[in-house]
């Protein structure tokens, strides 16, 4: 996600250069594939037909380059290749591969094209295609983020499988003398008309001598064997037996364990420290100064953490307001022209529109990513190369960042990407990589694993940005006639890119994402404006980014307006929506829960909300009861349209998990600053949701979206407003600030 701004900036430069130097070259170069990196060190007798498939005489290896932070993309990437390759997932090895420009993400620039993601007009598609080509020339960015993995790989991985299959058939034809047309493939073998099976592995040596067959047609989804069916994730046995190594589990001979402490007032200076007590503690080998703080290297992580806690620090002041109240005060003061980020949507005339006015002010707090596996990285620096074992979403940048610190050529820096125990956006950041590299650089020849304590992971997180929303709605004749939404917040993209040494020109679209692009085409008067500040705490992309806070603001205001109009919350949303795919998910969720109004009896209520993010329309209904012990979540229904379902079980898991994530943080979590430091330093103060708050969650997937979309983030935005709207229906209390538990008790 951090790449967007850089791409936008380069777009301009390359765009001009392409015009000056001749567009033909630009188009040609943009369409040429990158060289296959597997060919660099392929052993004798092995074949690699493209960057994703390697066959040798023992095994078939599939490369699944997108990072897996729990969303299951490791498995789905392999399935996309295997579907066309005619091989089963238990017959292949799957690897993340090594970072290479050949794996650059073609879909991640889509959101930067400046068109809503439901706009499939020729102009919008042309701009997206152009941006993709330009981005490839400017910075081929290998990255996993923005729910872009499936749009990126859906076609290219199936093509990779088909290309490999047809080349293997050609090899079999040469070997057997049987024409290709008479050959079939199944379970990793080419089958001759007489039933003889030639395993792919036996054909590798010959296939290696052939030019890959690239003129292949993809199968129609109706012919799929495994895609679209429930699949066993290929990592599921390991993840259920404790045998899957995450980055934090990496072990090698003679390694050391380290941890760091940097100023908890993010970005503040270290004026001094006293490590004399720490130096004498058991197992401590070295205390190393790093940028902004100190690292302890020991022979055990716990010993390193104990020693780091024994260091006395003199920390400088924070470069942002010390206390939380001042953050809110600052935001309240930027709704003006000077801070205008964009007038992102204007339909009709909200000011002149007639109707009874409803106004509201909404707040969305800072929240931490806090993936359950604390951030960590293991690095070994030697004279001629650097090896890195960590889980990261922007693989090639990791290698660049480390190369800058160690002084090696980037080509000699090798990231072995690891499975991640969650990320939620935290593994888009580079501080932990830099810190681990600074340590390893001073410990040349010794592999060092740097692990954040949970407390360091919290205080040194770059949380979700705080957002304040102000809305005016007008209702007329039982209908919503106007919505005027103003959003003030921080630029996540500028904050994040600033830490990468990049700048973002122009407005940050994430600041109004999820509000400006609400496809309510039947709303006659509609305006969305956003206001930007950079004066607050440093922030980062948090799962669903701008749409998280903005859909809460937008859908809460809309709900207030609908109730004031006396209309039905579901029917009025359907009426306002002029977008078939979105109408589809609203109707589906209504059908799933047998919607019959928001009021379902004394002390009980239902809330509905709609969210559009990363190209996916999602509708959520939450049902609650107001009990003596507080609000109880009884049931949740979610309908979403991802265009094409590749693995229904994994998709359901993501719908449920994303909803839990959205609801849990909306109910329970905020990061607040006091004396410049995050006050919440572990899960007791910021836990998300626990199992006893979790309601049954039913899910239905639709396939009307014209494009396939990723689903790691889209379930989150509508969950919070659906809950707030349900609480209103049950209690009459309208909650305009997250976390909700500041305003009402929960069971």
């Amino acid at each position: 996600m951090a790449s967007l701004g850089k791409i936008a900036r380069r777009t301009f430069l390359i765009g001009s250069a392409a015009i000056a130097g001749g567009v033909a070259f630009g188009v040609y170069a943009a369409r040429q594939p990158f060289p296959n990196p597997n060919l660099d060190d392929l052993s004798e007798g092995s074949a690699s037909f493209n960057p994703w498939v390697i066959v040798d005489n023992e095994r078939v290896t599939l490369i699944a380059p997108h990072a897996d932070k729990g969303q299951g993309v490791f498995s789905t990437q392999a399935a996309l290749i295997a579907e066309e390759l005619d091989i089963e997932l238990d017959q292949v090895e799957v690897s993340f591969g090594m970072p290479d420009q050949a794996y650059f993400n073609t879909a991640i620039t889509e959101a930067a094209a400046g068109f809503p993601m439901y706009d499939h007009s020729p102009t919008a598609e042309r701009v997206r295609g152009f941006l993709g080509g330009v981005a490839k020339l400017a910075i081929p960015m290998m990255a996993t983020g923005g729910s872009s993995a499936m749009p990126d790989v859906y076609t290219k991985l199936r093509e990779a499988g088909a290309t490999a299959r047809e080349t293997l058939k050609l090899a079999a034809s040469e070997e057997s003398g049987v024409p290709v047309a008479d050959l079939r493939t199944e379970r990793g073998a080419v089958i001759l008309p007489d039933g003889t099976e030639l395993p792919y592995t036996a054909l590798a040596a010959r296939a290696a001598t052939l030019a890959p067959v690239t003129d292949v047609a993809l199968r129609d989804p109706s012919q799929w064997r495994m895609l679209g069916q429930p699949m066993d994730r290929i990592d599921i046995v390991q993840k259920s037996t404790g045998t899957l190594p995450y980055g934090i589990d990496f072990r090698t001979d003679d390694m050391r364990f380290a941890t760091v402490k940097v100023n908890p007032r993010q970005g503040g200076a270290m004026n001094g420290y006293d490590a004399s007590a720490a130096e004498a503690m058991p197992g401590v080998e070295r205390i190393i100064e790093i940028t902004g703080g100190v690292a302890v290297v020991a022979n055990n992580t716990w010993r390193a953490i104990q020693a780091a806690n024994a260091i006395e620090f003199d920390w400088g002041a924070a470069p942002y307001p010390a206390d939380q109240a001042a953050h809110w005060e600052h935001l309240a003061g930027i709704f003006d022209d000077e801070h205008l980020n964009a007038e992102a949507r204007v339909e009709g005339d909200v000011e002149a529109a007639a109707g009874e006015e409803i106004t509201g002010e909404y707040r969305s707090p800072y929240i931490a990513h806090a993936p359950l596996e604390p951030l960590n990285a293991t690095i070994l620096v030697t004279e001629d190369r650097v090896d890195i074992w960590t889980g990261h979403q922007v693989q090639q940048f990791v290698e660049q960042v480390v190369a800058e610190i160690t002084g090696h050529e980037v080509d000699n820096v090798h990231l072995h990407n690891q499975f991640m125990g969650g990320s939620f956006g935290h593994r888009l950041e580079f501080d932990f990589i830099r810190q681990a590299a600074e340590i390893a650089h001073q410990m040349r020849g010794t592999p060092v694993q740097m692990t954040y304590s949970r407390e360091e992971d919290f205080v040194h997180d770059f949380p979700r940005h705080i957002t304040m929303g102000r809305g005016v709605a007008k209702v007329l004749d039982g209908q919503v006639n106007a919505l005027d939404v103003q959003i003030a917040g921080q630029s996540v993209m500028r904050s994040q890119m600033g830490r990468m040494g990049l700048s973002l020109p122009g407005p940050d679209t994430q600041l109004h994402e999820g509000a400006w692009d609400a496809p309510m085409f039947n709303l006659p008067n509609f305006r969305v404006r956003s206001y930007l500040t950079e004066a607050l705490a440093p922030v980062s992309s948090w799962r669903a980014v701008g749409a998280g806070p903005n859909v809460f603001i937008f859908e809460s205001l809309l709900d207030e307006a609908i109730h004031a109009a006396g209309a039905d919350p579901l029917e009025e949303r359907i009426r306002l929506m002029g977008h078939d795919v979105s109408v589809g998910v609203l109707e589906a969720v209504g059908d799933m829960c047998s919607w019959n109004g928001a009021n379902i009896g004394e002390g009980r209520g239902r809330g509905v909300a709609y969210g559009f993010s990363f190209g996916v329309a999602v509708a959520t209904v939450v049902e609650v009861t107001n009990t003596d012990g507080g609000i109880k979540l009884d049931h949740v229904w979610v309908a979403a349209d991802v265009g094409r379902v590749l693995d229904p079980v994994n998709l359901e898991n993501l719908a449920q998990g994303g909803t839990v994530f959205g609801l849990g943080h909306a109910i329970n979590c905020e990061i607040t600053y006091a004396d410049g430091m995050a006050e919440q330093t572990n899960y007791h103060a910021h836990e998300g949701m626990r199992i006893w708050q979790c309601p049954p969650i039913e899910f239905r997937a639709l396939e009307n979206n014209p494009k396939i979309r990723g689903f790691g983030e889209p379930p989150i935005p509508p969950s919070a407003p659906a809950l707030g709207n349900a609480i209103f229906a049950a209690t009459g209390q309208r909650i305009r600030e997250m976390p909700f538990n500041k305003h009402i008790a929960f069971v």
Partner: protein, 152 residues
């Protein structure tokens, strides 16, 4: 100091206040039990001591009395425990990082209560945080494991 983990005896040279979790992970390279919080808030470090679930980040090695079983000793990919079988059938894991602890806690729950209700599950599993939100599937898997163990 001596301890028995998954049936194997080990000798370690550590201070008595080192938590069992870090003896397992960084001294013995038994990495199934995970570090999540270090303060008994997440359950990722859950192991069994003489069959009972304990938070290994809270148990000083000097206070350990009994044999330790980690997720690796509960069952293996070739010889799964019924709870692990159920976890696989229900496709519970997302990132999977919490699941060692969830499974160890669930095995303990089912040993004490072979037919838990949803309320029983919520009460016992409430200390095991899943940041990915796999709770609906955890409930289903505990019920499925209960059925398997009943049939066994």
């Amino acid at each position: 100091m001596r301890l028995t983990v998954n049936g194997t005896e080990h000798e370690v040279d550590v201070e008595p206040d080192m938590p069992l979790l870090w003896v397992l992970r960084d001294e013995l390279n038994i990495t199934g039990p995970k570090y999540g919080c270090g303060i008994a808030q997440c359950g990722a470090c859950t192991v069994h001591v003489d069959g009972f679930a304990v938070r290994s980040c809270q148990l000083a090695i000097g206070d350990l009395q009994g044999d330790v079983t980690t997720i690796e000793g509960l069952g293996t990919p070739d010889n799964l425990h019924a709870v692990q079988e159920a976890w696989i059938e229900q496709q519970v894991a997302q990132c999977g990082y919490c699941q060692s602890g969830q499974i160890m806690q669930a095995a303990d729950l089912l040993a004490a209560n072979p037919t838990p209700s949803d309320e029983d599950i919520d009460a016992v599993m409430g200390g095991n945080l899943c940041r990915c939100g796999t709770y609906p599937r955890i409930r289903a898997a505990v019920h499925a494991a209960a059925t398997k163990l009943q049939g066994a």
